[in-house]
Amino acid sequence: MMRKSVWIVVGLIVACLGLAAETSRPLVIGLTTTGPLLFVEGRLDKAAGPALMMSCITPLAHQRWATVDPDGNFVPLLAEAWTISQDGMKITVYIRKNARWSDGHPIVANDMLLTFEVLKKEPVLDDWGLLPYIENIIALDEKTFEVRLNRPFFPFIQYFFEYFPIPSHIYKTAENYLDPKTLEASETISSGPYKIVGFAKGTTTIRMVANEYYWGGPPPFPEVIIHLLSPDAFVPALMATGQYDIIEVSKPAQVAALLGLPNVLVRTYDTRGFWIWNMGVWTGILMNNAVFPLSEKQFRQAIAYAVDRGKILEIAAMGYGELSSMGFHPARSPHVAPDLPTYPYNPDKAKELIQGLGFTMGPDGIWRYPDSGKKLSLKVQARAGEETLVGSLVVEMLKAIGIDATLETLASPVYVSNFNVGNFELGVIKTGQPDIVDFLMMKFYWPTVVPLGETIHYRGWIRWADPHFGDLLEKYRAASDPEEAQKLSYEMQRIIAEDLPFIGLYYGKYIWAYNTATLANLEITARYDWPRLELVYGLRRP
């Protein structure tokens, strides 16, 4: 009897295993991610979470006014067209007649007015610092609104088009929108090609179906499933199952195993579509310019000579990337200024520069401070993962020139807090980085140095300020002549490359694996074709 029962249980298990075989399925995308998933439908100004989510998930459900293709050309999305006045002070935006929310309600000028009200009420949500430039936003009619500026700012629309319309027929007022208690009450509403039908905070699967009211017609896949995978997931095994159509490969070391698989195509991209920009991933060293000896330009230059950036790229990113120029752009960028200093790896030169600052070499091979005779020690802070790997290489390279360097791997909030209050010496950072001159120049620049111990957000972390640089930046933002703008950009890059308030190491490549069997009728390309899905996932119909 007992034996019979065991066999029945075994039989049932085997039957279940057999039934688990796959049937026809939607597009399945695997994304490796760290951090909690906080995706708040229809409320993207308050959406927070890993950048991956913002770049690969939200664009499918929430659309903006326009985007930019890989060639830098604007592509209208919710906005049908727009005009800019001669003096650049007035922008008129015409919303598509057939642009609708996923509940069928039309997208109207009032939706953008509500966004503006929200930004005015909570300026901290003004990511791109546009509020100081905006005089007012008014609705000319139901489908047209006008933005009036109080001073010229030529890259304005690149940023402005990033601000989502907020469904005013649902939220009514900015106060209601901003009330955290209404977060959960909001119904799923989207403006993009898909609407979310299966998602709860903390879950790892997001199910999206085509938004029947989407202005652009039905998307190429009626259903998309996004599976959030651990960064430790072994992508080759996942692709081998044939369950996934596309997976982002976060560990370059797994590429070799992927290349040996049939029906798998591995593509690398320099950038990933992120909002309207193409986002690269920059890895660099931030230096605390407010503490000695990092406050000395000569010392910062010594560090630049001590760091073998090519070796770091080869080891930390397995060569999947390219070196950053010292002016901050990727070396391939058309925006790089000519004749920038390059600081090739030269430990002898680094030692010479340190000696020039009065440091003396101790018997143990470690430099001593000129006055106190104390050992020259530096701490390098990093977060777990690639940053720590880069940090350990940097530490070894600093030790090789006689600096007693140590690595501190910290939890993200502690790491960020250290930067905020200036409680760091060197910090390895890996961050999404658009190749837009204006933003690049703004990335780590705050016009005043905030004293150590006082909190400043990322633009002021390096605690470096140069009035001349600030002046050039303001002029650049107001420049309408492209030649003049380029001249100003070159000058700013030269200042950065000379003064070295931070050191750019490399721009990593994004690696994606595609299932060529299930995507057989699609062309896998890096070119822009169909709004967002193509830009994000590199797919288009031939």
Binding site: G18, G202, T204
Partner: protein
């Protein structure tokens, strides 16, 4: 009964003490959750202050502790409040949405671990000095000294990548809707094979070695020699007389393993992208989400305590010396 009541009062104080330590531990971090709130949610200072007030973080530490004890120790079900990083979702809801996966994986692994470790331990002791014992011991030492994440990758490479018999990640196929159907159950079973195997292979050796060594000692006891001399069947001696006594420490180990395994499973869940509390707790620790951290460790501590009581009970049943002592 007296023994049991004494044990019960002791474990209650141990439980409260552990929870008080749990309350203070996250607060020893160099930065508070307000830093996280401000950065991640890009909240203005006033909003952060309001949230601090809502979470009770603006109160003196003693008041916070009393409130914690009131809500967690003297309330059932305990109220851990809101998750900071998933606000306004309550901790209870967020943990409960992940816990079933972890409990399923843990309990099934634990059962298999106990059975496999004990049975192989008994066999090894029984066949002491044979090739079989040598092979089993070698395997046990190999698995015991293998880091669980390394072993997990090996299992993935062998069974998911080379032979492709089991899926390498997730709790069930992403294309299957999570409804109570045979297809779903089958998918869940298939997806749990490799993570379960990783846990079993790293945990079972502890039982194996413990049972094997205890069995060897019990084999030398007078009553066993007497039984042999009386001509009692070998199988009866092994299973009825020796194993029953040798299994006592394994039962204790089983009790303590429950809490430990819940924590130790984090790595396995990370490698297999399993949607249990593993990822949740890693995110919570990195994000200074104290209420979720406290909620998770509350479960581990409470489970540990409950299992310790259960183990005592089992001891009373299987060991008369405790009952009459």
């Amino acid at each position: 009964m007296k023994y049991f009541l004494r044990r019960l009062s002791l474990v209650f104080f141990a439980w409260v003490f552990a929870l008080i330590i749990l309350f203070f531990l996250p607060r020893l971090m160099p930065v508070g959750p307000e830093a996280l709130l401000a950065d991640r949610f890009r909240l203005p200072e006033e909003a952060v202050l309001l949230m601090r007030k809502e979470f009770g973080l603006d109160l003196p530490i003693t008041t916070q502790l009393l409130r914690f004890l009131q809500n967690v120790v003297f309330k059932f079900p305990p109220d851990f409040g809101y998750s900071y990083i998933n606000y306004p979702v309550r901790v209870k809801d967020i943990i409960l949405s992940h816990l079933p996966w972890t409990v399923y994986l843990m309990m099934s692994s634990l059962m298999v671990t106990f059975l496999l470790g004990s049975v192989t331990g008994i066999i090894a002791a029984w066949k002491r000095g044979t090739k079989l014992e040598g092979i089993l011991s070698l395997l046990a030492i190999f698995c015991l000294s293998s880091p669980v994440f390394w072993l997990s990758y090996i299992l993935i490479i062998v069974f998911a990548f080379v032979f492709r018999v089991f899926p390498p990640a997730g709790a069930y196929s992403v294309t299957i809707t999570s409804t109570f159907s045979l297809q779903f159950i089958g998918s869940v079973l298939r997806h749990s094979v490799l993570p379960m195997l990783a846990i079993v292979l790293t945990q079972a050796p502890s039982y194996f070695l413990l049972v094997r060594d205890n069995m060897s000692l019990v084999f030398k006891e007078d009553y066993v020699i007497t039984a042999m001399a009386k001509g009692v069947k070998e199988r009866t001696i092994v299973f009825k007389h020796v194993a029953r006594n040798a299994l006592l420490p394994a039962v204790s180990l089983f009790g303590t393993q429950v809490g430990l395994m819940l924590g130790g499973q984090i790595m396995v869940e990370a490698v297999f992208s399993y949607p249990g509390v593993g990822k949740l707790i890693v995110d919570a620790i990195l994000g200074l989400d104290y209420p979720v951290v406290i909620g998770f460790f509350y479960i581990i501590i409470t489970l540990g305590i409950i299992m310790s009581i259960v183990t005592d009970f089992v001891y009373i049943i299987i060991d008369p010396r405790v009952r009459y002592g």
